[in-house]
């Protein structure tokens, strides 16, 4: 663990100043973060924007003996501003309400996990010229597609550094890198006038792991698949979720529903379901922060608590220990924090989020899974989200196909899917062996029986 000496020196001065300024706080935390980024954007299949910047700042969070919390931040990182922000944070704290359940901040931890391959040193001195080759590859790959009429793409690289200190003696620092490619293409058949859009993205820790050409190819295949669409009649049938569909309709809703804060306020569809069987044996979900090289991996969370691996659903049962906690929500239940406090940067106070959220692969191949569907719908992408408090979902199939006699056929137009997420989980029949990784999510193909499809064909 390498500490940034400038932050170290500032933090030491800050704690001395805070103690001399006020004796009203129980604990005070200083969070520094810095992100150096570089991003190149393709528009109309031409390089259009080259962006370089740095976002750096700090926040001060303090809590009183009665559990009232104050928070303040600035991006002017120097001693003068740090002192001002400490004063403001304490003033904010004094204006909050008492909360006996707010018990200080985390203590000093003696050990942290050591996840490997989350920092790419090559990114440190990265120049725009180093990304030229990637951009050319993307532009040229798109030119190979005769039906492609437009292409937007992004390559971006983020180099992030985080350092957390609190007055309980906790101090931790970490560095990580994120490298990403995004490609979105538009296809048009000039004869029939049919058009469609397709996209794909990739998020990696190491620049050398990016495969921009392949991402453009996948985006193009995606667009091709949905070029000729037709309306279908309403029906009840099987629904096959692609990995992206699984992410949108299974993993994301569950991730929101097991957020301990929402759960403690009874705001999620999984309230009252702890320890119960929610789905079949093949429904196994974990949140694992400790996978080497993975995007959601981390040694410590947004409050400096060590990260770990947690089972959420085991053989279809929503485990009693299946919630994601930060320090506050864990204290409320007198348990250990799961290390899921999340901060996007210095400007956000800790909330709760997943690390690597994984639906474990099953034992059938995706081809077998689809081949057993006589009539059904394949859902790749919807922009709709379920109502997390009720689990009700009704959404437009933005990218999807009909499945007939075990084969993927025509793409769908103006088709909607309606189901409660609890019914969807209960009706899961099969989970595929193959899976795809979308950022912090790992998702296989999933077959669900008995789903309401609303079509617009007469």
């Amino acid at each position: 663990m390498e500490f940034n000496n400038y932050y170290n020196a500032l933090a030491e001065k800050a704690f001395n100043f805070a103690r001399s300024f006020s004796s009203d706080f129980e604990c005070l935390e200083i969070y520094f973060s810095k992100n150096d980024y570089l991003s190149l954007k393709i528009e109309e299949n031409m390089l259009k924007h080259v962006e370089k910047g740095k976002d750096e700042g700090f926040s001060v969070r303090c809590v009183s003996r009665n559990g009232s919390m104050g928070f303040a931040f600035s991006n002017q990182v120097d001693e003068k501003h740090l002192k001002e922000i400490i004063k403001t944070s304490i003033k904010m704290m004094k204006n909050g309400t008492d909360d006996p359940e707010f018990k200080s901040f985390p203590p000093k931890f003696h050990s942290y996990p050591r996840v490997k391959k989350i920092y790419d040193k090559q990114v440190e001195d990265l120049q725009v010229e180093d990304l030229q080759e990637y951009i050319s590859e993307m532009i040229n790959r798109c030119k190979e597609e005769p039906l492609a009429i437009s292409h937007n793409g992004i390559i971006s690289v983020d180099n992030e550094e985080t350092q957390i200190y609190n007055s309980n003696g906790l101090s931790i620092s970490g560095k990580e890198t994120f490298c990403s490619v995004y490609s979105s293409v538009i296809f048009k058949d000039k004869v029939s006038g049919a058009s469609s859009s397709g996209f794909e993205y990739q998020l990696k820790r190491f620049l050398k792991d990016l495969t921009p050409k392949n991402i453009v190819e996948l985006a193009s295949n995606n667009a091709k698949m949905f070029l000729y669409r037709r309306k279908i009649k309403s029906m009840r049938c099987s629904l096959v979720l692609t990995p992206l569909g699984t992410k949108e309709l299974i993993l994301k809703p569950i991730a929101s529903a097991i957020n301990a804060e929402s759960f403690q306020y009874n705001r999620t569809f999984l309230v009252g379901k702890k320890g119960k069987e929610i789905g079949p044996n093949c429904l196994n979900i974990i949140d694992d922060a400790l996978i080497d090289g993975a995007i959601g991996s981390s040694n410590f969370d947004g409050e400096g608590v060590p990260c770990k691996t947690k089972n959420i659903f085991l053989n279809g049962i929503f485990l009693n220990s299946g919630l994601l906690h930060n320090w506050y929500t864990a204290n409320k239940e007198n348990i250990e924090s799961t290390g899921n406090a999340y901060r996007s940067s210095y400007s956000s106070k800790p909330s709760i989020d997943i690390t690597n959220f994984i639906l474990k692969p099953g034992d059938v191949s995706k081809d077998e899974l689809i081949s057993t569907v006589k009539k059904g719908v394949l859902l790749n992408y919807t922009n709709d989200k379920p109502n997390i408090s009720t689990g009700d979902f009704s959404g437009l199939v933005l990218q999807g196909n009909l499945i007939e006699n075990g084969k993927i056929s025509t793409a769908l137009n103006e088709t909607m899917v309606g189901i409660n997420i609890l019914d969807l989980l209960k009706n899961i029949q099969q989970v595929s062996r193959e899976f795809k990784i979308y950022g912090s999510y790992r998702a296989p193909w999933v077959k669900v029986k008995d789903v309401q499809i609303i079509g617009s064909a007469p």
């Binding site: 904010m92 306020y265 400007s347 437009l396 309401q452």
Partner: protein, 483 residues
């Protein structure tokens, strides 16, 4: 030096240096800098969850060379960092070895040297934090005491005081100062194992007066009432229906399904179904849709502040004005920023907007609305045999390439034989935008006109917008349902 004096660094000496050092090196440049401070307060179940305060300084330098933009971001404002920043930005737009097929130039536009202060009646920087907190406590108490069925409440208050400066290659120097306030009330109600929630909000440009109007004071009671009503609502049955949309939903429709397709950057990127359709009749002749972000429209709604989606100059120094998008059924204008106007041979019309000083301006809407006609709401309902009245929205989106759109309504009522019967929840409606434009069979009168405000997302930026219209009736809309 205080936070707000930092912008004084852009004096004549520095501007002269920039002009001299960019001459013949780039085709265009602009600089935006912003200093801002604000509070963010959140109460849940009558306890404070967030009491926070911030100060930020942000600056971006944008350069254009042979059709490629460079964009450099900095946060330490002094003449040295800005000079170095300009050099970096010039280097960024001149990335070698990548050819561009379209080395466009920006057509010169009028320059302005202006200082604009939008005055708050009750400046947020003068309102003590205690008073802001008391406001939240009041809303929490009102919502909590409304009924035993109210299980939890959340009230959020966000304010911002901001000063910005804009400079560009054409000689503009525009300084602006203003304040913003937003207030949200969310209430969750539960009964017999059913949980429902409702959220209402107010937002505007101005000071604390925004949260002191009668309407703002009633948002928590409105959320509580609606959440409880929704407990008794049923899920919709899917199918095709005659739908009456309320002004907020109409606003979402014109914004999502029409407005985005008129953004000229999406048109150039061939992502809009309206590409090549200027001058064509695309809707019934009763349909006129405009975008008008100019100041002074708050008074039309008896509000003591400016509408949240308003602005005097956009983020490229172009003065805002009313733009007719569809006039009497004919598509007549796209919304433009500097680049799209230059490339499409149009005049920029004030729609180059960015979410912060460190985001790249895109083509964005301001206040988009459907012009009213002459129907009474009562007439629309009484003439409907079987249909759904859809009110307000939870969210909405559109695929501008195909015109496929989808909205989730907040509260809906079934209409049977000309009368509202049962309440429905989570109704989602979808369709193809151009088809819907031709299936409008009634447009409400001025009395039924209203608007809503919010943040519109595009390319990971959020800008403040308003949208609205009168009540309208549309035939054959697809309603999604679980049954």
């Amino acid at each position: 030096m205080g936070l707000y004096e930092l912008l004084d660094v852009f004096d004549d000496k520095l501007i002269n240096w920039i002009e001299k050092n960019t001459k013949n090196r780039v085709d265009y440049w602009d600089i935006r800098a912003e200093t801002k401070s604000g509070n963010s307060l959140e109460f849940t179940n009558r306890k404070s969850k967030e009491i926070s305060s911030y100060e930020l300084v942000e600056c971006s330098i944008r350069t254009l060379h042979e059709g490629k933009w460079g964009f450099y971001i900095l946060k330490d404002l002094n003449s040295n960092t800005i000079k170095q920043g300009m050099e970096s930005a010039i280097k960024l737009c001149k990335i070698p070895n990548i050819s561009i097929n379209n080395p466009f130039k920006i057509n010169e536009v009028d320059s302005y040297n202006k200082k604009i202060r939008i005055k708050s009646k009750k400046k947020i920087i003068d309102v003590p934090i205690e008073e802001k907190i008391n406001l939240l406590k009041e809303h929490e108490n009102i919502a909590f005491n409304y009924s035993k069925k109210v299980k939890n409440t959340k009230t959020t208050y966000i304010d911002k005081h901001v000063k910005t400066i804009f400079l560009n290659a054409f000689g503009s120097k525009i300084f602006q100062e203003m304040e913003f306030v937003r207030l949200f009330s969310t209430v969750f109600a539960a009964e017999n194992g059913v949980i429902q929630h409702s959220m209402n909000s107010v937002a505007g440009i101005g000071g604390f007066e925004i949260v002191e109007t009668k309407e703002a004071r009633s948002i928590s009671i409105k959320s509580a009432k609606e959440a409880i009503e929704l407990l008794g609502a049923s899920s919709p049955v899917g199918g095709k229906f005659t739908v009456i949309m309320d002004p907020k939903l109409v606003g979402t429709f014109v914004h999502e399904a029409i407005g985005h397709s008129c953004e000229a950057d999406l048109v150039l990127q061939k992502e809009s179904i309206l590409k090549g359709k200027i001058g064509e009749k695309i809707a019934d002749e009763d349909v006129t849709i405009s975008d008008n972000p100019i100041l002074g429209q708050g008074t039309l709604f008896n509000l003591p502040y400016e509408l949240y989606g308003s602005y005097v100059y956009d983020d490229e120094g172009i003065k805002s004005k009313k733009v007719d998008i569809i006039k009497e059924g004919i598509l007549i204008n796209f919304l433009h920023n500097l680049e799209t106007a230059s490339r499409m041979g149009a005049s920029p019309n004030g729609h180059g907007r960015a979410s912060t000083a460190v985001s790249i301006p895109q083509v964005r809407m301001g206040f988009t609305y459907l012009e009213p006609r002459d129907w009474e709401l009562e007439e629309m309902i009484s003439e409907t045999k079987y249909g759904i009245l859809c009110e307000d929205f939870q969210y909405g989106y559109t695929d501008t390439t195909t015109g496929n759109f989808q909205f989730k309504c907040r509260i809906s009522s079934l209409i049977e034989n000309g009368e509202k019967t049962k309440l429905m929840r989570d109704v989602s409606l979808g369709g193809m935008s151009l088809e819907i434009l031709n299936r409008i069979t009634a447009i409400g009168n001025k009395k039924t006109f209203n608007y809503s405000d919010g943040i519109c997302g595009k390319g990971s930026q959020g800008v403040r917008v308003c949208s609205g219209g009168p009540f309208i009736r549309v035939e054959d809309v697809i309603i999604g349902g679980l049954n």
